[in-house]
């Protein structure tokens, strides 16, 4: 039986994604590898032995002993302010994983893929996009990325670059950039009808974001005729910490 052990992880670099989010790249000696969509447990230990654990989705496809997390700062949180504001290259924490065998994309799969991300729910979907690109995958992907305004985009530069077979649609909920015809509003049926796949294509749908967003998106996909067993969800509440 496979046992998940805590492994020391050293922060080797970090990049700001937005004003409140950053991507942290860790070296984790002995890392067994992971599938896109999986998450890890992170453990922080204070000087006096006090510990705190949280779960985060992995942002990169498996790459030796490198594990990348993109963390949104939860203003009242206990762990995310440390990861986004305090931690510096050379600092260490512990990582255990990978965890989760359901919300994953496997590159053997031949079904078209629809990714629906709300806010920081983009992170595990980005791991799938990157894994597909790395493998030279031919399976078509469509990404619908819902977010409040353009300043909150993660991976903006990377998603702007051409990636054949990947269509990216931004759906703004509060304020859209100039030149975008869709008014800023919440996710609607027509967004999924236009930016997604017809139900007859039997696409695999991955939906990740805050609970209300995931509930709404999954219900709309059902209304469009997608089979419930093809809709995989990952939700997080406001307290991700």
């Amino acid at each position: 039986m496979r046992r998940l052990v805590w492994r020391p992880a050293e922060l080797i670099s970090c990049v700001a994604e937005t004003e409140s989010a950053r991507t942290l790249r860790f070296r984790v000696p002995g890392w067994p590898g992971h599938l896109p969509g999986q998450h890890v447990d992170v453990r922080l230990t204070a000087d006096d032995g006090y510990t705190a654990q949280r779960s985060y989705s992995v942002a990169n496809p498996t790459d030796g002993d490198l594990v990348e997390l993109t963390v949104e700062n939860v203003p009242d949180g206990e762990v995310s302010p440390y990861l986004t504001e305090v931690m510096q290259a050379g600092d260490r924490l512990e990582i255990r994983g990978p965890v989760g065998g359901w919300f994953v994309w496997r590159q053997e799969s031949t079904a078209p893929v629809l990714l629906v991300g709300g806010g920081s729910g983009i992170v595990p979907l980005m791991a799938m996009i990157r894994a597909r690109r790395l493998a030279g995958g031919r399976v078509p992907f469509r990404l619908l990325y819902s977010l409040r305004d353009p300043a909150r985009r993660y991976y903006a530069e990377e998603l702007r670059r051409p990636d054949p077979g990947l269509d990216v649609t931004y759906l703004y909920t509060r304020s859209a950039p100039e030149g975008v015809s869709r008014p800023a509003r919440r996710l609607m049926l027509e967004d999924l009808a236009e930016g997604g796949w017809p139900a007859s294509f039997e696409a695999d749908c991955y939906v990740c974001g805050p609970t209300g967003f995931v509930e709404a998106a999954a219900d709309l996909l059902l209304a469009l005729g997608h089979a419930p067993e093809r809709i995989r969800t990952e939700r997080f509440g406001p307290t991700g910490g």
Binding site: R3, G49, Q53, Q88, V99, A218, D219, G241
Partner: protein, 199 residues
């Protein structure tokens, strides 16, 4: 002591001895599910217990509501690390539902509308440890939290407390459920931090 994270202070909240290892307290009620939320009309809802001998006991919604009700107040622990203290539910004890069921089974497989399953030893459902709940905090249980009715088995991680519960299959042999075949622990005791396979 393991690896120290330089500059990490933490924000400690005193939960006395009610916080299992690796958990933190929340005041809201996060939702975790693997797929869309099923909607189950009450006139078609039923709860069933299927025995290892092939007998089935069924309750309609009205029959279920007519059973003796309890209102347990319990702490719940999600494998994703959050713990919520003093949650109040209303429902029917499994002791009541299994009272007239003849069985020598050791294991139970819980199954739900929408296809979810989870497994546990039958003894973990007995002796005042588990309920089929249909109200939370004085209100009808919302679909996103498992309504019309869900299992509540608070001494195990909360994924064992199956939402949208439809029935219990009593088995002579253990049969791992949805998360139990996707890398999570077969039993899931939060006090022994049995989160994943091999813990």
């Amino acid at each position: 002591m393991g690896i120290i994270s330089r500059g990490f202070q933490g924000r400690r909240r005193d939960a006395g001895d009610r916080l299992p290892p690796g958990q933190y307290l929340v005041d809201d009620f996060p939702v975790l599910s693997a797929g869309p939320t099923p909607r189950v009309p009450l006139d078609r809802w039923e709860f069933a217990v299927d025995t290892e001998a092939g007998q089935t006991h069924r309750w309609s919604w009205a029959e279920f509501l007519a059973l003796p009700q309890e209102t347990p107040t319990v702490d719940i622990h999600c494998v994703t690390k959050w713990t919520k203290l003093d949650t109040t539910w209303q429902g029917v004890s499994l002791d009541v539902l299994l009272e007239d069921v003849e069985t020598a089974a050791d294991y139970a497989l819980i199954y739900s509308y929408g296809g979810y399953t989870t497994n546990l030893p039958l003894e973990d459902l007995l002796d005042g440890q588990a309920w089929i709940a249909h109200r939370f905090d004085g209100e009808e249980l919302e679909p996103r939290h498992g309504g019309p009715a869900r299992l509540i088995v608070p001494h195990l991680y909360f994924w064992k407390s199956a939402k949208w519960v439809r029935g219990i299959r009593l088995l002579n042999e253990d049969y791992p459920g949805f998360w139990e075949t996707a890398g999570y622990n077969n039993y899931g005791d939060p006090w022994r931090e049995q989160r994943y396979e091999g813990d």
